[in-house]
């Protein structure tokens, strides 16, 4: 029997790591991620989880410990947020290029300055191209589900890439919601024991992380790129297996009431749930609108997105991150790239908002859709507009 209990997303993710029976946890506490490692440290201390908890002195060290642990074949977990994620930035690249399947929860937090401990997606977007599989969660159940799923995909012999599970700081990390926890037997069925095929072993010496001179580095990176793109098949298969065992269905791109909709709003993370209510209200008034929740951020689901987006007239992409001097929000520029090759393509309007913990209400999202349609209708050259920010930005040109 599964149990339905109240949990923060942080505790839900920690519970997923416990049920995955992780071997090594190396983490440094940083708001709003703190409750994830705190809870795991408690579990290890209380004997509920047989794992090595390594209390490192920095995020740079946390990720470095994770690399070593994964290289000997340990199921490895860590968690961080905002500036912590940036502090481990250069080590982040090493995990995917050495094909070390670390799982990391990122409790999304803004970057300074001004100093902010609250949520937005600046941290996630800054590590966009590090080569990690990345997914976003809409609620606490998903924080549990995606963390569990992350181990299944990362450790698949056809994948062997690390996975980041993103969920919004405070909006999810510190909010208690009902979460269904499965039976251990179900988890074990979904997630077999980890057998890393290249585990370091003194009896079978080999070299991990060798030097790559200019005559080999390019080939190494292209091999990584090809393997990473191929991992999408297993990502989707893993989601299907998850649905078979736990009954909850997830997809790289998740349409919500999009049938025949002329205008589509695209969001990521917890704001998708708020935006869905705005869509419901607009539908009730007879407006031709729908929502796309983008779950899989890397590898970017180009085909799935094109299928969902190309029939619409207007796509409004809401980014919780500034991409200073760039083509609108980071998510928006990807969407534009995905559609560029289409002969008939929708107009894509970029909105930036929800920065540094600023809440976006249902009314704010109704405004974003209304204003987005206006911008699309006049064919404005605006590169981005703002939602929920005092003093509207208009006519920003590159």
């Amino acid at each position: 029997m599964s149990r339905r209990i109240g949990l923060e997303a942080s505790f839900a993710a920690a519970e997923a790591a416990r049920m995955a029976d992780v071997d090594v946890i190396a983490a440094y506490p940083i708001t709003p991620q703190t409750h994830v490692p705190e809870r795991l440290a408690e579990m290890v201390a209380d004997g509920e989880l047989n794992a090595a908890y390594v209390p490192v002195e920095s995020e740079h060290s946390a990720m470095s410990v994770c690399l070593g642990a994964a290289a000997v074949g340990a199921r490895t977990f860590t968690a961080t947020a905002g500036p912590g994620l940036e502090y481990m930035h250069n080590v982040l690249y090493v995990a995917p290029s050495m094909r070390l399947p670390v799982v990391m929860v990122v409790v999304n937090r803004a970057l300074s300055a001004p100093l902010s401990i609250w949520g937005d997606h600046s941290d996630a977007m800054a590590v966009r191209d590090t080569g990690w599989i990345q997914v976003f969660c809409q609620n606490n159940q998903e924080a549990f589900d995606m963390t569990l799923w992350a181990f299944r995909v990362a450790e698949d012999p056809k994948v062997l890439f690390p996975v980041m599970v993103h969920f919004d700081g405070f909006h999810l990390s510190h909010v208690t919601e009902p979460v269904i926890l499965p039976e251990q037997e179900e988890v074990d069925r979904f997630l077999p024991r980890f057998h890393y095929p290249f585990a370091l072993d003194p009896d079978k010496p080999m070299t991990h992380g060798a030097f790559g001179a200019p005559d080999i580095y390019s080939e190494a990176k292209i091999a990584q790129e090809v393997a990473f793109r191929k991992s999408k098949k297993v990502i989707i298969k893993g989601l299907a297996e998850f649905a078979d065992i736990f009954g909850r269905h997830y997809h790289p791109v998740e349409p919500y009431r999009t049938e025949g909709a002329k205008t589509l709003l695209l969001t990521m993370g917890s704001f998708s749930e708020t935006a869905k209510i705005a869509i419901d209200r607009k539908k009730k008034r007879g407006e031709s609108v729908g929502l796309i929740n983008l779950r899989l951020w890397r590898p970017f689901p180009f085909q799935e997105l094109r299928r969902e987006l190309k029939k619409a007239e207007t796509i409004i992409v809401f980014d919780r991150c500034s991409a200073f001097g760039g083509p609108g929000g980071a998510g928006c520029s990807e969407i534009r790239s995905a559609l560029y090759g289409e002969s008939e393509k929708p107009r894509v309007v970029s909105f930036i908002g929800g920065l540094g913990g600023r809440d976006m209400s249902v009314e704010d999202f109704e405004y974003v859709v209304d204003r987005g349609r206006e911008i699309a209708a006049v064919g404005s050259e605006e590169l981005f507009a703002t939602g929920g920010i005092r003093g509207e930005v208009t006519a920003i040109r590159g």
């Binding site: 050495m98 070390l100 062997l160 290249f198 080999m206 991990h208 080939e219 190494a220 091999a223």
Partner: protein, 102 residues
């Protein structure tokens, strides 16, 4: 396998890379000719050498080898020409010579 890894000509493509660029066989650094990095080579004067072995001890690449007559010889396949042997030799028996003057 090890020899294939060292072959980086036009027929070695990204498809030939091991997963995670792992080097699956140990000890293949020995196949790498590091001697072609060298701009200066050590020359030992056997008249001065008293076979103390400090050059052998200090060589960071283990490129100095004991020969049958008890003297020490530099393996130029590996020697990078760093000059540490010449620096530590207590009898100044080793001199570094520019490669183009050989």
């Amino acid at each position: 396998m090890a020899e294939k890894r060292l072959r980086t000509g036009s027929d070695f493509t990204w498809r030939d890379m091991e997963v995670g660029n792992i080097v699956t066989e140990a000890g293949n650094a020995g196949l790498r000719r590091t001697g072609d990095w060298r701009s200066r080579r050590p020359i030992t004067d056997k008249e001065k050498c008293n076979k103390c072995g400090l050059c052998w001890l200090y060589c960071p690449d283990a490129a100095v080898k004991l020969s049958e007559d008890g003297y020490y010889e530099t393996d130029l396949f590996y020697c990078k020409g760093c000059g540490i042997c010449a620096k530590v030799c207590p009898r100044a028996a080793i001199t570094m010579v520019e490669e183009e003057e050989k």
